[in-house]
Amino acid sequence: MAEVSAQDAIAAPARPAKAPVWRLRAGPANAVPIILFLLIGFAAPLAAVIGYSVMPPRTFSLWQAPTLDNYESVFNSTSYISFLWSLGLAAVTVLLLALICYPVAYGLTRVFGRWATLLTLLFTIPLFVSENVRLYGWILFFIKNGVLLGTLKSWFGVELESWLFTEGIIVLGMVYVYLPFMLFPMTLGVSMVPTETRDAAFDLGATRWQVFKEVDLPLSMPGIIIGFLLSFVLAVGAIAEAKVLGGQQVIPITHDIEIAFTYAQNWPLGSALAVLLMLVVGALVLLVLRRFDLDIILGRR
């Protein structure tokens, strides 16, 4: 003990320099539980999918001679149509979301003041109600004799065909479900634009459009891109919208995967499809995330 205190006395001015050493070790130590958990809960299941995708078709065990049969039958099938539907619907959804959300994100940061928190909460609440239930609400709205058509009929005597089970309704459902996933990152992005920079641009005679193009857009880009990425990835994985609202007129890739797992009882084929979907999504996410410093977006400047 005496030795330690003597050392401390000599090294007293060096105390602040000691702190970073301790910090360096505390960081990884705190990360251990979550990393272990993600290893068994996320990495291992994905490995299992990859493993199943190279098993012989219609088998249920992981310990057989690997084969590429499943990939071959995927490439020889019409699954690419489902892939294109998924990607196309997701792309349209994301573009619509960007147009819908930007004015709201701008308002939340600059115009609505103390009401912004309440509005944010209102946008959060639907996130916690199961997607199916909320889409079911849209069915009640659009169905024949439902809220929309029933009102039109009894008040104006207009009788229309229901719009359910069309591509348009699927897009509506997807825009509706994924709206918060675009809105919140976008709001974070817009709030990253310093008011001073905008004021300076205005003082220098920039027009409103110029400020938007040269200041607002580039400076809020990180948040906007995260919003695009998040909503696109989730929309590519969407399944409920096409099933519930689309009446299975359109079969997205996730539906193909589910069919392979349930009705067809062909786990290896479903796994091969899932691996291909994972590749598309994973490549996109890694490509985009690699370019970002999350500290800047999430709060530490």
Partner: protein, 269 residues
């Protein structure tokens, strides 16, 4: 009023109108569910001719529904406790400490959020099968955690970013032990983040469908039951339960937020 001011007003009014229409858009389905739940007839025909709450009565008297609630609540509570514990430390590593590999770690943690949940559910099903685990509500807890732990980590991290590490160091300098620092400084300061983390964990688990679908086995959660009923044909029990879910989420969130605001005010006094 100068022309510039007037155009400013106009712009604000337009933004308000737009934002409020988006709010209406977000709540339109909930309103439809509420309407459909408050009719006495077996089928939903709008405008409603026979108003009544008999279906609420019937739904709440059903023993099957009680079982569903019990399963869903058990899953959500367990998920909340485990997720918040893991995520609390995860968030410290995410935002509090500077360490080599942190930037990579942040991206790994976010990866499950950026992943289609239905595919994740299937992957977990394959994994449980490979391990030979029987499916039940317990495997569903694990499945929910895979997606919810990263979300809660993110939620708590946002609070941790505004945390001043000097507070902890000051406590250490004053002779506090590591445990005391945790109990007296770190936890109270980060409380709002942890509290929102709990709310998120509970509600996201409560409302989750894609992960439960593949991992609950013979047990059934409320969203699964609702989906089965929707596919099988209309019953007014669906809108009743849907409305209950929406109102529960609203009360928990608005109430929770209210609590945080009250606590902050009490502190400032």
């Amino acid at each position: 009023m100068s022309p510039a001011e007037r155009s400013q007003r106009w712009r604000a009014a337009l933004l308000w109108a737009w934002a409020l229409s988006v709010v209406v858009f977000m709540y339109l389905p909930a309103v439809c569910l509420l309407l459909a739940s408050s009719t006495s007839s077996r089928y939903f025909i709008f405008p409603i001719t026979r108003w009544g709450f008999d279906w609420w009565q019937k739904t709440f008297d059903s023993i099957q529904i009680h079982e569903l609630f019990k399963t869903s609540i058990s899953i959500a509570l367990l998920v909340t406790v485990i997720a918040v514990t893991i995520a609390f430390f995860g968030a410290l590593a995410f935002a509090r400490y500077d360490w080599k590999g942190r930037s990579l770690y942040q991206k790994i943690v976010l990866l499950p959020i950026f992943f289609p949940q239905s595919v994740l559910g299937l992957a977990l099903l394959l994994w449980f099968n490979a391990l030979g685990l029987p499916l039940s509500w317990k495997t569903a807890v694990f499945a929910h955690l895979v997606w919810i732990v990263p979300v809660v980590t993110l939620v708590i991290s946002i609070q941790v970013y505004s945390f001043d590490p000097a507070l902890e160091e000051a406590a250490f300098d004053l002779g506090a032990t590591r445990w005391q620092v945790m109990k007296e400084v770190t936890l109270p300061v980060l409380f709002p983040g942890i509290f929102s983390g709990c709310l998120f964990a509970f509600l996201l688990s409560w409302g989750n469908f894609p992960l439960s679908l593949f991992t609950t086995g013979a047990d059934t959660t409320v969203p699964e039951y609702l989906y089965a009923k929707m596919v099988a044909g209309y019953t007014p029990g669906v809108p009743v339960l849907g409305t209950v879910s929406t109102i529960t989420a609203a009360i928990l969130l608005l109430g929770g937020y209210g609590l945080i605001v009250l606590r902050r005010r009490a502190r400032l006094k």
